[in-house]
Symmetry: C2
Subunit: 372 residues, 2 copies
């Protein structure tokens, strides 16, 4: 629980790959009725399905507000799971543990610590999605307190866990659209941001993709467009439709990935993961979201394109939790992921309800590596 004034790099800690063994997965229960329709009940059912899928593979902690403890227990613990799902009280502003939880780092001895990035709800008062975000900015510290783990805090650097993907061997993937956005760290240039990332994630090579997925409310987090399947292997969200604005985004990412080398000097193999067909929020879906007059970020317009992507899956101990959208590509993506992760079992979970709230399975999970 000590807050350290050094950096992970100073201390020999680094961010491991998501496929490194987990102690548990952290999630946050969806509750806010101005983001989740019908009093958040469909979202709660969707999050429950994700949590129970993960609990086939590893323990889960669900962080829940005091008002929803009993309801969350009733859903999550309705019947036993192979690994337990505990319900822990915490005040939050919304339910995106990827972005509000700590980014865990480890050393060679198997000690675990956490990076507690300053969080501003994906843009603060300049395009951020809600205000206040004070509870969400405190989530990472509370998780580290719960686990009695030391904390690195970056009071002068805003970042979210969904904005970074590592191979665990010194290489980091990010998007320019997010990390260079003036609504995050307006006084830092690319070089200064790289230096922070090197110091806290202990990476050597940073690969900048220009863009993410069209209409992604996070300013195009990398975790919706590309991730590592293994060192030297990148999965990339892909469309063959040249009339889709996503085509240029994905093509630009591919161009970068084809010309870059990773931290170990390897060329990158790119696996194109097809996107689902374009999806749009429906008026009847948005009609049951509580109105907000003071926060345009949360306002949902009917027929706005949703940023659905299979890349937004989660790797847990022996499993991949993959969104499905009632789309022909559901099974294409699942098959490609099964090939890319031969030691993991693919579990498909409905993703539309989470997508309506602004993200998907990777966005609502955060892995904690095992301690020695």
């Amino acid at each position: 629980m000590q807050t350290l004034i050094t950096t992970p790099r100073d201390d020999g800690f680094y961010m491991p790959a998501e496929w490194a063994p987990h102690a548990q997965t952290w999630m946050v229960w969806p509750e806010r009725t101005d983001n989740w329709r019908l009093g958040a009940q469909p979202a709660q059912a969707a999050f429950t399905e994700v949590a129970r899928a993960i609990a086939q593979f590893e323990p889960v902690t669900m962080l829940v507000s005091v008002r929803q403890i009993k309801n969350a227990i009733a859903h999550l613990q309705a019947s036993p799971t192979p690994h337990s799902i505990r319900v822990v009280e915490i005040a939050t502003d919304d339910a995106w543990c990827r972005d509000t939880g700590p980014t865990f780092v480890v050393n060679k001895q198997g000690d675990v610590r956490g990076c507690d990035w300053t969080f501003n709800a994906w843009g603060g008062l300049d395009g951020g999605l809600y205000s206040s975000w004070a509870h969400d900015d405190a989530v990472a510290e509370k998780i580290l307190q719960l686990e009695r783990l030391p904390r690195y805090r970056t009071p002068d650097f805003i970042l979210e866990g969904g904005a970074i993907h590592v191979d665990g061997e010194g290489t980091l993937l990010v998007t320019e659209q997010c990390l260079l956005n003036k609504n995050r760290n307006p006084n830092m240039n690319r070089h200064a941001i790289e230096e922070k990332l090197r110091a806290y994630l202990n990476v050597e090579k940073i690969i900048w993709l220009p863009r993410g997925i069209v209409n992604d409310e996070t300013d195009e987090h990398v975790d919706n467009v590309a991730c590592f399947a293994a060192p030297g292997v990148v999965l990339l969200a892909w469309t063959e439709d040249r009339n889709d604005p996503q085509f240029a985004y994905s093509q630009a990412a591919l161009n970068v990935l084809m010309r870059e080398r990773d931290a170990k000097g390897r060329e990158l193999k790119v696996i194109k993961l097809p996107l689902p067909a374009n999806m749009f929020g429906r008026a009847e879906e948005y009609a049951t979201i509580d109105s907000v007059s003071d926060n345009e970020g949360m306002t949902r317009e009917a027929n706005t394109r949703l940023a659905g992507s299979y890349i937004n899956f989660y790797i847990c101990n022996g499993g991949l939790i993959v969104p499905k959208f009632d789309d022909p590509n559901d099974n294409v993506a699942a098959a490609l992921l099964a090939d890319a992760f031969p030691n993991h079992r693919v579990v498909q979970v409905p993703g539309r309800e989470i997508l309506l709230g602004g993200g998907n399975i990777h966005c609502i999970t955060q892995q904690q590596p095992v301690s020695a």
Copy 2:
């Protein structure tokens, strides 16, 4: 986190003695300004001293409301302790973890579970100390969720952890004044209450002391008047002043203890622990407690006698945390306790501030036994 419909006795679980090895100690941060004077700040300092004393011997978890997280961290983690003190968010009604936390039970294999007694703030609307007590009644379940431990709930039985003391070998100490009080389980007679205690604590012999300590707001919990120092050895709060109403209470307890045998058929050795000189709340102390118009239970009258007692100490791994009151008997009690616990180191901590709120060190702590 499973809520079991069996009883600990059914499953081979029993409550171990307080001196059995602990995994950690649970406490709750004092906050309510209608019970704790000066915005609860002196109480917070006192609880901090207790927590930091325990953390010389074992880990501590302090449960804190969302409003006080940062403040509690600043106090409790101001400098490192040999064992960590973590701060965990929970909504509570007040700060008595002995009575709101679970009573942990173990089996011979070293599995740990918890009893979650129904809690009614020491008497509900009939002499209870505050309303509502809904948050406090939920504390035990939240602790068990945090530890991923199974839960026994007694929806039809009200009890507090301070009302029971066991020797870990089948013997239980209670007071009639508390357990037979009509403000707890008015529809249960002594026999029915004994049956609940036997089923959930898995004890064979229940020793009923008539009374506890004069003016004890809990309806005279046993943990302020008597406890075990070892199987067959009972510590009893004592006064030689025949004009003190406590004399009759302590003498009656002694009479019971002298004639009873424990579950193993042993006679009981009684060690008389002298009480501090009578203490009274001062007008200037009570002047800085927020007024409550709707809850007489919390109203403090100046010059009311305080229920101070050295029996209200806490046994942790290798240590005894003992209240001191700037009284000549502070050192007499400490010496007697050191003799009674030759393998424990006595640490004296100021107790008056906690006493002003209605209890002492034992009342604000709850031990969790080690798991195998």
